[in-house]
């Protein structure tokens, strides 16, 4: 468990960071900005990795990973799970909005006054 310490620490910190970010309430624009910065950073890293594959391998060796491609894969996996989790939260929020809207629509479309209290109610139906 204790070999490759550096990459493992980095990945665990990244995972903890993703979890921390996701358990905090999404305060709209701040969260969105952070997400976008993260995506841009990832994009930059990916471009560098494509154009200068040796760089990636060097960095990989610094943190104790065999190949640059492996490093990229680890990073991608963490980002992917972060995306899945934030996607789930977004879906839940949308569902809640739909529920509230449907309820309000249903309530406003219903008859505003209660049925008469007598049990004789025979609506004409053909």
């Amino acid at each position: 468990m204790l070999d490759q310490p550096l990459i493992k620490i980095l990945l665990l910190v990244a995972v903890a960071g993703v979890i921390a970010l996701l358990t905090r309430s999404t305060s709209g624009s701040n969260h969105q900005a952070v997400r976008r910065l993260g995506l841009i950073a990832f994009g930059v890293v990916a471009v560098v990795a494509v154009l200068f594959p040796a760089t990636l391998t060097t960095i990989a060796e610094w943190v104790g990973v065999g190949r640059g491609a492996d490093l990229l894969l680890y990073g991608l996996t963490v980002v992917f799970f972060g995306f899945v989790a934030s996607s789930y939260r977004r879906s839940r929020r949308l569902e809640r909005h739909i529920t509230l809207l449907t309820r309000e629509l249903a309530l406003r479309s219903s008859t505003p006054t209660a049925s008469p209290s007598t049990s004789e109610k025979a609506p004409e139906r053909d």
Partner: protein, 227 residues
Amino acid sequence: MGGPLMHEDTWVVIPLFNEATVIAGVVADLRARFPHVVVVDDSSDDDSGAVAEAAGATVVRHSVNLGQGAALQTGITWVLRNTDARYLVTFDADGQHRVEDASAMVAHAQQEDLAVVFGSRFLDSRTRPGLVRRIVLTGAVWLTRQQTGMRLTDAHNGLRVIRRDAATALDIQQDRMAHASEIVLQLGRTSLPWAEHPVLILYTDYSRSKGQSLINSVNILIDMVLK
């Protein structure tokens, strides 16, 4: 006049989804003792809503299917907004509940000044669910006890009496089947007086075929944990 006592200050709330074959009978039976019935049609594919209305219920309709929890909350909100009901009764649409149990539970609430009465299958030995269902229900009871601290014998019973002051505290956010323990949790937080009351659940062939598939219990339990 020697008729049975009518519960004039009570509204029955029925979440309804695709029960056109039985809802007329359910509503008619209820209206012999409960003149005020509101049915929330959760976007049924059949004509359940029209059938319920013809039987004398007020019908509120969801434009899209949301789930039993959402339908219940819509019904509760409707009653609180549009009536001065003192008690609400939540009642299933599939014929599993008995009107006499509902009536006895309202009387129980009135006599002992209770804000909530939960129906329970397991206070006596009349109801006989199958073994597997009993195991699942025992798990749900345990989980509910962990989450809410309330010692209920039946955590998943749709027959409840809720007094107006307790009903105003409800805000059911679990749209689908995990709403039962959410209701218990929210009512428990009010610290209002409550009790359980024995009820008989009628497992007819019809309701058995419509009832919770056991595999769906996986979803319910996970929803309860994830909340």
